[in-house]
Amino acid sequence: MTFDLTSSLILSVPELALALSAMALLMVGVFSGERANTTVTGLSVAVLLAAIVWIVVFPAQGEAFGGAFINDPFARFMKLLTLVGAAVTLIMSVGFAKAERFDKFEYPVLIMLSTLGMMLMISANDMLSLYMGLELQSLALYVVAAINRDSLRATEAGLKYFVLGALSSGMLLYGITLVYGFTGNTGFEAIAAALSGGERQLGLVFGLVFVLAGLAFKISAVPFHMWTPDVYEGAPTPVTAFFAAAPKMAAMALLVRVVMGAFEPIAFDWQQIIVFISIASMLLGAFAAIGQRNIKRLMAYSSISHMGYALVGLSANSPEGVRGVVIYMLIYLAMTLGTFAFILAMRRNETNVEQIDDLAGLSATNPMMATIMTILMFSLAGIPPLAGFWAKWYVFLAAINAQLYWLAVIGVLASVVGAYYYLRIIKVMWFDESVGAFQPMAGELRFVLGLSGAFVLFYVFFGGPVGRLAEAAAMTFF
């Protein structure tokens, strides 16, 4: 295994830039003292945006580092989503950092390193790089979950996430060793080649199950979702926004690449697992969210069920299905960022409030905010013609074309149940007695909320070009 170092480095320019600038910014933070937070956050956002521009302007393609790293249309699309998620959540954290004295310059640095791990996951073409990227991402996430170390809930969230995450990493590694033992390879193409000839062995299926379990933990799909509500509730809100946005993109991309790349020849086996995870996530997300009073917990269950819907597309095992997953993740990202901009703006008497009852009568005190939130909630519930409807439309269409009728039926029923709690928020905002106005919304939050609302509302007009981009990304695997 030899490779050309120069071409490898050129292929991974955004990753290199992120790694080097994270280290440089760490030094900036250390040597410029306590007030470095704003500078470091600003520079981090600049680097993330530069990486986005680089990926758009120089669409490199090919394998690097002896096949460990791959850049293709799918990787580029998902990397863009991840970078946008990371950059926007960093921007949203600025006001919160000032108001809540959440001013650690390590926060943006850890977010950058975590984003780097996500990009490596998306580009992973080998079990080793899969694991290394995943660990880089997760380790940084454990730390940022507990970064508000004087809060009992935040440390509990961090510890819980760490213990369960370590367990899931163990399962993933065990699965990887089994797959390696039965195929003799760690590269995805080599595994696929080894699987395509001859009959499938039982041990390999065990390996597949363990690998999928480890990855399902990262997208918080049932039955590996237990950490999600506690971590979402306990972590500081900007961190929760980041958790809900960027890592989901990367883990979903990794899952798609593993099943479509490495385990493509044994599609029948993984399809069953994905179908089960998908149904369980949709149903649990729909029913468990009904009783929630805290909006961050509610969003946790909402994200569980949305991962279930996205997996419906993957179960179809068709170009259409993967396109559905890609579009779903894009729309989920837009809706999630908008909703969390709204949650961050829920401030009264200089503190953040998180209860759904605190939203009562928002339409009277701040009609603009209430209107955009209503649009986002309708979209999350999947009401046409908003973006959320089209996301569900593509994945269910793919399931029906793959003859998974009952999966689509269960999905539609679950989304009807799920509509209840989104509509309840709308009802509380528009029809309940007002409990007082929120503080004026910070400029950056207003910008993100407005952009997200516009995306969701007008998606129907630019859905065509976006769909073609997603199609190009999905065709990578076929």
């Binding site: 295994m1 030899t2 490779f3 490898s8 790694a19 280290m23 760490l26 690097a64 580092f65 002896g66 460990a68 790293f69 650690k104 390590e106 640095v109 850890l110 390193l113 780097l116 791990g117 490596l120 080793l128 790089s129 290394m132 990227g133 660990e135 880089l136 380790l139 940084a140 454990y142 730390v143 507990a146 970064i147 170390r149 961090g158 003799g184």
Partner: protein, 206 residues
Amino acid sequence: MLTGLGAIFFYLFAFIAVAAAFMVISARNPVHSVLYLIVTFFNAAALFLLTGAEFLAMIMLIVYVGAVAVLFLFVVMMLDVDFAELKQGALQYAPIGATVGIILAVELVVVLGGYAFSPEIAAEVAKPTPAIAERQNTAALGDILYTDYIFFFQIAGLVLLVAMIGAIVLTLRHKENVKRQSVPAQVARDPATAIEIRNVETGEGI
């Protein structure tokens, strides 16, 4: 199969390792337990040496004896944990433990008994390993670690960096009232700034 001198040493090290491992769980004093653990690690390292894995043997000594066992000693000595009470009645569960152990051993025998290498891998295994004098494990690992596997090596470095940042972020506290040594300030002192001459009147203080 080992024969001759190799076999004698193998059984010697293996016996000491098992005996020391038993002493780890049965010693009354926790510090003695840790010391027996170190003996076990040393013998395991010797077993690795016998099989020609000199790199693993050295890593075993550096990592397990040098870091892990010392950490255990610190924990045992610094934390006030009453190990005697914790271990009260530990041996009364020995029959259950032994049963579980025997079941595991039988399972291992059954699994390994039915173990078969695929022909390609068997061919790889059958290839002659160069003698240590000719090619060392350490050199062989170093050759590929920094060339073919440089990508993974660098990411591993980043993971460690994150771990370090995390430990500092989550635990370091700047105390307000602690006096710190400032070397530049000390070096920059000269008689003009450090000494103040006053005339003290007789019979009065300053």
